[in-house]
């Protein structure tokens, strides 16, 4: 009997962290440092005086699509559809969060929008978070527009 074992596909994951070049504690210029993280050799920008890092502006997050359903029962398909919907909403949330953090790099905004941590864990939370980001992002833009239109 002929048989073959199928393996999964290649999966790439990339995270990008955008920081400014000065220490968040003492404003000193940062230097590149290589270090060991377990057996993995890594690199980071670090303050030579206090060991601090640059101010975080925004961090991207890599979202992987959910695995396909392993059965054809209604329950499995509904669960898969739900996972797809959540993945889509989470993607929208991170896009809005990242854009908001980049646009407000010099302003004080909640740190969760810069780090991407404490992101929504279910569909309901994701919808509320997206609406909130749309409102605060839109409010700032509307405020800017109003100021730019003010004569004198």
């Amino acid at each position: 009997m002929e048989s073959s074992i199928n393996r999964g596909s290649f999966r790439a994951t990339v995270e990008a962290e955008h920081r400014d070049g000065y220490c968040e504690n003492c404003e000193a210029a940062l230097e590149k440092e290589f270090y060991m993280d377990g057996e993995r050799k890594r690199v980071r920008m670090i303050c030579p005086k206090c060991g601090g890092q640059g101010r975080l502006i925004a961090k991207s997050v890599s979202i992987q699509a959910p695995s396909p359903p392993q059965c054809v029962r209604i329950k499995c398909l509904v669960r898969f559809a739900s996972a797809i919907a959540f993945c889509g909403l989470l993607t929208i949330y991170h896009r809005k969060r990242f854009t908001y953090a980049e646009r407000n790099r010099h302003k004080k905004i909640p740190q969760k929008y810069r780090t991407g941590e404490n992101s929504p864990t279910n569909i309901r939370q994701a919808i509320f978070a997206i609406i909130k980001l749309t409102i605060i992002g839109g409010t700032r833009q509307w405020h800017k527009l109003k100021l730019s239109q003010t004569p004198g």
Binding site: R7, G8, S9, F10, R11, A12, T13, V14, E15, A16, E17, H18, R19, D20, G21, Y22, A29, L30, K32, F34, E39, R40, K41, R42, V43, R44, M45, G54, I57, A58, S60, V61, S62, I63, T91, I92, H94, R95, R97, F98, T99, E102, R105
Partner: protein, 138 residues
């Protein structure tokens, strides 16, 4: 647009060259992609023709450079993962839409990544890239 990242067709072709004991190259370089709006990573992208209308940065600390660290790791089965870390330090105000991880001949893009949104880099800003590719996704 969501962040998208993929191993390119040319990257897989390069791996197959290695299995065939033909002349193949390893991951060694990285370059930032320049585009005013977010791009979408595609398997068909090549070193010479990145995603959408993106082009390679050619200066300002975002140009083609040797990757700071490349290593191996384990995700599902022993040695199934390649990891790479790099820090770009901008020397001018530039937009970064994504990255290409390339080979040592600088003619094959193994991995293409387009970020969630365009990153507005200013002078002295740093962009730390933490990437991995899992080949065995059992």
């Amino acid at each position: 647009m969501a962040q998208t990242q993929t191993v390119t067709d040319t990257g897989i072709a390069e791996l197959i060259l290695l299995w065939r004991e033909e002349s193949a190259t390893g991951m060694e370089s990285i370059v930032a992609l320049e585009m005013a709006t977010p791009c979408t990573a595609a398997v068909g992208s090549t070193f010479a023709d990145p995603a959408d209308t993106a082009i390679h940065h050619t200066d300002s600390g975002l140009e083609l450079a040797a990757i700071d660290t490349v290593g191996g790791d384990t995700t599902n089965t022993a040695g199934d993962t390649i990891t790479f870390d790099h820090i770009f330090t901008a020397t001018a105000t530039k937009n970064v839409a994504g990255i290409h991880a390339c080979n040592n001949d600088d003619d094959v893009a193994f991995v293409e990544c387009c970020f969630n949104a365009v990153i507005a880099m200013e002078d002295t800003d740093t962009l730390t890239i933490d990437g991995e590719v899992v080949v065995d996704q059992a």
